[in-house]
């Protein structure tokens, strides 16, 4: 499926509707506001490339070629944060900056073997705060690995803006050809569907099925 801004937005709004209907008693992180940026980036990503994604993985998964029905099924079974696809080299971690070093390991072998595969590692500006990101960027830069870290900067680490947490608006200049950044204004909150607190009653049979 060739996605457009409209199809991506429609997908997330369908998930929002199911959340509002009480069908999704799970933590979900909806995407929104970065459709065109991602369409541009994914136009450069090949089928054989690797994509490492984050807790907010729905758009990444769709644009890597995972069918909508598969992504939706994963979300509706409590795996919004755990979408993986071996055949499409799509890997996710919802632990802050957790995939950065793993991406380096894959890229290292791609370089050593002479593979055409490139590794794309998406992180938020919250993950950029983390030392694991800095270690990976230094390693990838020094070894000229075929990996691009894409900072999806929505000026938000959970709910806290950059200046509040770092005391400055000025972003770190990583001075690395392995790092790119784009900015966007998110259309959904960090977690959930942006609905008023207490407005959703989760369906008891679904809650019972998934309770640990």
């Amino acid at each position: 499926m060739n996605h457009t801004t409209e199809t991506l937005i429609a997908f997330e709004h369908r998930i929002k509707s199911r959340f509002a209907a009480g069908e999704l008693p799970f933590l979900v992180h909806l995407s929104g506001g970065n459709e065109q940026q991602l369409l541009d980036i994914f136009s450069e990503i090949n089928d054989f490339d690797w994509v490492f994604s984050t807790h907010r993985s729905h758009y990444h998964a769709l644009l890597k070629g995972i069918p909508e029905a598969e992504v939706e099924a994963a979300i509706c079974s409590g795996n919004s944060m755990f979408i993986f696809d071996r055949a499409r080299n799509f890997y996710t971690s919802s632990i802050l900056a957790g995939v950065c070093a793993i991406a380096c390991g894959v890229a290292l072998e791609a370089k050593r073997s002479g593979s055409m595969s490139h590794v794309w590692c998406f992180v938020g500006d919250g993950a950029e705060d983390n030392g694991h990101f800095a270690e990976a960027v230094r390693y990838a830069t020094g070894h000229a690995l075929p990996v691009t870290f894409v900072i999806e900067d929505n000026n938000r680490q959970v709910d806290t803006d950059y200046a509040t947490r770092w005391g400055t608006h000025t972003r770190t200049d990583w001075r690395s050809p392995n790092v790119m950044r784009y900015h966007y204004q998110p259309t959904f909150p960090h977690g959930g569907a942006g609905l008023p607190p207490g407005s959703v009653t989760f369906q008891p049979e679904i809650v019972a099925r998934f309770a640990l």
Binding site: Y91, C104, G105, V106, E109, H132, E135, Y139
Partner: protein, 174 residues
């Protein structure tokens, strides 16, 4: 054969697999306390002293189809890599519903307590019990009576079917 000799022989045997990679710092020069003296330099990936990065690289190498052996000169330092080991390596198969099964043989050395040079609390801790509680793959202590060759052969066999092993070595025995 000595304890160190048995570990060295096991490492040499692991290196017979072309896809084998030894990952860590101090390997190109220190050779992991001399236990990698007989392995090809081409299989050694020297890293910065950044334990979580080391562990993440090992996971990535496994995802790329290789057979990584990750070396920590002190078990104390493994705590810096706990995120990669516990939240990623140990969890990957479950959270990916079997799509990915990265497998790493981890070597962690407990510092010497009974003979010089003494290095103090933060270089001699044994977290075997803690890691047994945190990961769902075997944590194997190499004691004086352990069949070391058997342990590493089993670890490689497990690795080939997508399972990791944490092997705990004791510097007092080296």
């Amino acid at each position: 054969m000595s304890y160190k000799g048995e570990i060295s022989a096991a490492m040499a045997k692991l290196s017979q697999d072309n896809g084998n990679r030894f990952i860590g710092y101090g390997l190109k020069h220190g050779f992991a306390g001399g236990t990698l003296n007989d392995v090809p330099q081409s299989q050694i990936i020297e890293t910065p002293v950044a334990e979580n990065l080391m562990a993440g690289i090992a996971i990535g190498q496994s995802l790329a189809g290789l057979l990584p052996v990750l070396y920590f000169e002190r078990f104390d330092f493994v705590l810096n890599a706990a995120d990669a080991i516990v939240n990623h390596l140990a969890a990957a198969e479950a959270i990916s519903r079997g799509e990915f099964e990265p497998a790493v043989i981890i070597r962690a050395v407990v510092g010497n307590r009974r003979k010089p040079l003494f290095t103090g609390r933060t270089h001699t801790q044994d977290f075997s019990a803690a890691f047994c509680a945190m990961v769902d793959f075997p944590v194997v202590r190499l004691g004086e009576q352990t069949n070391i060759a058997e342990v590493f052969t089993a670890a490689r066999t497990a690795q080939l079917r997508g399972e990791s092993t944490l092997v705990v070595e004791y510097k007092d025995l080296l």
